[in-house]
Symmetry: none
Subunit: 234 residues, 4 copies
DNA sequence: GATGAATGAGTATTCATTCAT
DNA sequence: GATGAATGAATACTCATTCAT
């Protein structure tokens, strides 16, 4: 489960000394607060100060900013995976799916950094991708169950789920602190479109992203590709 | 239409010399490409290099980064206002609204910078705001007309329109270059939820943003609020 | 004695690590040399190069140029305050005053930066001002003592003292390295005019600056007042 | 009288076309105002704007900023030379000298740029030096006449005159706009020390600058000598 | 001749990252 | 292990100077 180079625990997966683990948690908590409030451009110095440790300690736990951000985000995607798994246990398949969307959006809302990661992908190749890879199977089961039950339109696709989550996060981010729960309004709008029982649901005009496309998309967002140069007409 | 202080043409509105105008366009085109590809954190040095001019030239035309971004963005928001106005001319009120959503999303999709401006508003306080201020009235007419005609659910609100646009842009941005059209899928989902004719439409769980809240949100995005300090438990 | 925000040592006043303190001194010494030789427009890059450290190190110790200049200058103004206080201990009141003028001019002479700060005050709003505020009272006691003793003409005013110091610094700066002690010549000329015993001393034609005027002067030096526009006669 | 390279009139000393000459005056007047108000760091763009011409025109008349500053200053030194010559015509030799000091200080006072030139000499090698060279002979006659008449102490030296002028300018510059005439106070103090009739005038402790030293001083102020490097002990 | 557009080296400042203590 | 000092490349912006129109 551990992957080399992500954080310093990796190579041997040896458990950290108690105080080291405490610091690690402290840093993650501080980073969550700082990045959430300020976005990802917050400096690691600020994170360290907020955590009450030196920058050096941050770098001891996380080889670079990327890794810290990843660890943070991976935990949340993990949390979402957990939500999806728990949603499978819901007695009603439709309710299970919807409450997963709700709970996921609740996690994303108010989290500026999370949205930045998803939308502008300067971070997030490593554990994030793998965490998400764990999520898709769970979501797939959730979706298939609902479709089997006939509570969800047939052309809905598991990869639609993360996209919808991000869209809701966008709404929440846009409304900001003032109205953090605004996304519920749009979730309702969307779920009203998800029922198969609706009269004449419009056919969806294009295929959902395939899991491979989601992976490819994330990868490409990270390359700092030079903007293709222009023919110089000087 | 021209507003003082936004770009150097403003005060006299005297037309630029031919070569200057050519370079201005070149810079604008380069900025569009660079910001679209890299987001607004791209440096003006990179814009200048891409345009094949010196940084000084960029600064001659646009007194600061903000102004350049504004000039770029203002044109596009203007374009969106234009779309809303044209949509009012559509014979069918429902079609008018939907095609505005489509056309707007088409403009936003693939344009990372545009979305950044709208969502995090680090830039865009002059012409951009004024342009946006023109948009809401137009959208309002569009929405009211559809509601008068009974083609749109009554609890939909004009401010929902920009939020939905950004959500679609998010979807597009997430799918990236691979599937720029993907947002159409989610627009369909949403519009299916907008019809009043639907059987038992779910009540929307909270009020839409008021115009004042949108304005406040934009303003607050700019404050560099200190992250509240933690009790240090060293 | 330490004032928050002036240099990074301030908040906790915790002593710097040995190497840091060494570098801090190195930077201060380099800054003194560079500013003295080149004036305050010298860049911090040059200071850093001269000190043999990276610019970042300079900025770690002093949050901005102002603070570095302040730290440098504050020490010297402090030194002058000390001189004034020591001069009060001189047995003869006249000698006390004169030797303060001498010692002060000795400090100012050859120090282009010091003079710039005093005269154009682009820097120096924190400790510098406070240090200067300490100087005037000390000088006042010096002047009043001499006047009580009848060794100083009665219409001389404490604020005349700094003005005279700057005049002497001007003379020194003008003569430059070639004749750094030239100011002594003009000090003699001036002090010959200060004795009350002189036959028919000319009445001084206008009042000295009030302390408030000195403060106002410094403040106004900072405003970037627009040059009033001209009637264009094209 | 014209010296190559100083301004574009030089090589042939051919009189400028009428409009060119008008522009030249306009620029000089604008430069005087701008530099006086803002100091020498004012940009030539601002000067041009204030004069109502393009920067190119400024550069056509004056090959670089230095030359413009020089031209400006040279005119004033010229004006001072004129004053010295006129002072020679005064019936009383003492009054002649003093009123020259007064009139000179009046010219210098309120002129931040002039003071900057003198004190920090980033400009002023060319015509300025020559103009001053014209001044010293005139001043010398003024001083010698007063000493011959016994109205001036014998150890006073012609080169003391410009130094005193700059000292007075310093006082004026320090007091700023608030009290432009403050220098009169210090002139009185100094002139009270200049009378030979005074009881026991103190001997002046060092020789005045020689004309050669003044010249050397100015020259050296202009070299951008690197601050001598330090032994690096890294 | 006049204009103002273009240039690019220079300035203050920030921040991810490395390394001596 | 923890700390925080040091580094330098990067970024927004300015301005003296040159040159095309």
């Amino acid at each position: 489960m551990a992957h080399a180079g992500e954080d310093r625990r990796a190579p041997a997966a040896r458990p950290l000394r108690r105080d080291a683990e405490r610091n690690r948690q402290r840093i993650l908590r501080a980073a969550a607060e700082v990045f959430t409030a300020r976005g990802l451009q917050a400096s690691l110095d600020e994170v360290a100060r907020h955590a009450g440790v030196g920058v050096g300690t941050v770098y001891r736990r996380f080889p670079d900013k990327e890794s810290l951000v990843e660890a943070l985000f991976a935990e949340r995607v993990q949390a979402m995976v957990g939500l999806a798994e728990r949603a499978l246990a819901a007695p009603d398949s439709w309710t299970g799916l919807i409450s997963f969307l709700e709970d996921g959006a609740t996690l994303l809302a108010r989290d500026r950094a999370l949205t930045e990661i998803f939308m502008y992908g300067r971070y997030g190749h490593g554990r994030v991708r793998r965490a998400r890879d764990q999520m898709l199977p769970a979501v797939t089961r959730l979706v298939q169950r609902a479709q089997r039950d006939g509570t969800l339109r047939a052309d809905f696709t598991p990869t639609d789920v993360p996209v919808i989550e991000f869209m809701l996060a966008t709404a929440a981010g846009y409304a900001g602190q003032a109205r953090p729960e605004i996304w519920r309004r749009y979730l309702t709008l969307i779920t009203d479109g998800l029922r198969p029982s609706r009269d004449q649901p419009s056919p969806l005009p294009c295929d959902a992203l395939s899991p491979a496309e989601i992976a490819a998309t994330m990868r490409s967002a990270l390359q700092h590709q030079p903007v293709p140069a222009w023919p110089q007409r000087h």
